[in-house]
Amino acid sequence: MKSSSSGRDWYRAVWRWHLYAGLIIAPFLLVLAVTGAVYLFKPQIEQILYADYYQVEPSGERLSATELLNRVQAEYPDTPITRYRPGETADRSSEFRVMTEEGATTVFVDPYSGEVIGSQLNADRFMSQVEVIHGELMMGTLGDRIVELVACWTIVLMATGLYLFWPRNGLQASGTIYPRLRKGKRMLRRDLHVVPGFWVTAGLLFLVLTGLPWSGFWGANFQSIATNAGVGYPPSIWGGEAPTSNVKSEDVADVPWAAETLPVPNSVVAGYVPLSLDQVEHIADTVGMDPSYTISIPSMADGVYTLSAYPDRAQDEATIHLDQYSGAVLADYRYDHYGIVGKAVALGITLHKGTQFGLFNQVMSLIICLGVVLVVVSGAYLWYSRKPNAKSGAPSAPSNARRNVFLVLLVGFGIVFPLVGLSLLFVALLDWLVVRRSSRLQRYLNAG
């Protein structure tokens, strides 16, 4: 008798957490699932949206990278140009990133005619906006932390959801794998939440775990720890500094810029000059980069040229730092040079974005996103249709003993994910300062 009542007590505790966490997390999860579903198809969507910018007619010889750079600089005088992307196919335009007063702007150039096809403020790109909602809810750092919290709490929701669903007398296909359509409305409502929940759990857990390493707080710390331990990304790919060009600043050719062009001694003019973009492009050809690579142009005297490629498959990634004066390869990091955690994170990123296995990957991830939408909507409906009018519908609060066991589990989770820990502290404080002092709230939340 005792064990059955304690079992019910435990069940109520888990239910309570699932309900409250679910109600708070649901709207955010819905936003993440919808924006994620759209972002999955970024390559196809951008190909249609920006066809006029992307497509060029190959005709004759391509102009040199330096010539293209000069054309762009003529259009944007006195504006720093920070990146050059040659273009992966013969009929693809070349791109330059120009730092205008409005912000980072991509300038599309026809590499055959040298004509500037058009430009676009990066922040205005449709997919940039979807990404900003998905990654930070359009709220900057605060939004990034909220998304991270939602991801962590989604794990709690899945664990508690699995516990609540797990049949005490063995798993059955009906009500787990497929919904029972003819067992009454109440059963159907339950199954519409549980069945898609069962189906998406593994996929959603995968998306959460592969998404967390990009988060601004947990992800940044996790990556730093992995990099420092020698098992993550090599420095400069995610966190950490790139190497510097090996030349003393006084040895760099430096003509003091002046309105009047006055002759200065040879000792001032004499000095090392940076490589041209053409020469760097030539190095890129010899070291073997994926054709979608980008060259980052140094802005400081000791900066480096960086060749980087992040194509569809993680195995094709490369980051190469070049001394901007000598062209020496200072660092050459490919997927094979990542540590085991770095490889897992890199693969996780391409799988999360749906590019690793092409269309199959995109469709699988889309199904998970749609499943999440269904679970969220049906979960909210399930709660709303069951709850009594003047109450939250939460099961009564468990006994102190149960509460403590639960607390230990959550605190453990809160230590691994400190933001969750902080949010738990916040909830505890809210409970102590507000809920415990209002008998009306206690009645509503069934928190007696």
């Binding site: 006195d78 504006t79 720093p80 920070t82 730092m99 980072a104 940044a220 710390n221 730093s224 990099t227 420092n228 020698g230 090599p234 420095p235 790919i237 995610w238 966190g239 950490g240 500094e241 190497p243 090996n246 050719a253 430096d254 003509v255 810029w257 062009t261 006055l262 002759p263 001694p265 040879n266 003019v269 004499a270 000095g271 090392y272 000059v273 020469q279 980052s296 802005s299 400081m300 960086t306 980087s308 992040y310 001394d323 004066y325 000598s326 062209g327 020496a328 390869v329 660092a331 050459d332 990091y333 040079h337 605190v411 809160g414 230590i415 400190p418 933001l419 820990g421 902080l422 502290l425």
Partner: protein, 155 residues
């Protein structure tokens, strides 16, 4: 009993807050734990005063003992005159020289082409021979107009 609980709660709270606030950054020494390169380095020494038609010696110092090759390519910066690639002669430990003469006044480039242990480099130093014309000075200044420094992440 209650006091003990309080204590536990306080310890847990401070533990969580400490972990949450202690941001971890990448250690500069971490580079040593990943694949490393041995980049070849070269310094070129160019005399301060060079007169057209007079012999001039360029000195090249490397950080490696046994390079595959050390060449020096001399040319005018505007591309109107080139002396092609010439082999530099070893004169000491890791030190190479090339003595030649440059016939015209103008702004030149001395580009070293060297390779050792799989690392290929081609740094260039610019220098003046004789006197520059006003047009050359103007071009030199124009190319040196500063642009605002910008740094952004690579990823």
């Amino acid at each position: 009993m209650i006091r003990m609980k309080w204590k536990t709660a306080r310890i847990l709270t401070s533990l969580i807050v400490t972990i949450a606030l202690a941001g971890c950054s990448v250690d500069p020494e971490a580079t040593a734990r990943y694949k490393q390169e041995t980049p070849l380095e070269a310094t070129v020494t160019v005399p301060d005063d060079i007169t057209p038609g007079e012999p001039v010696t360029f000195e090249i110092t490397l950080n490696e003992d046994a390079p595959d090759f050390v060449h020096l390519e001399l040319q005018k910066k505007d591309g109107t005159l080139s002396y092609g690639m010439q082999e530099a002669i070893q004169v000491g430990e890791r030190t190479y020289e090339l003595t030649t003469s440059l016939k015209e006044d103008g702004l030149y480039l001395a580009r070293v082409h060297a390779q050792a242990d799989g690392s290929t480099i081609f740094p260039a130093k610019q220098f003046i021979v004789g006197e520059l014309t006003e047009v050359e000075w103007a071009a030199l200044y124009e190319g040196a107009a500063p642009v605002e420094a910008v740094t952004e992440p690579h990823h």
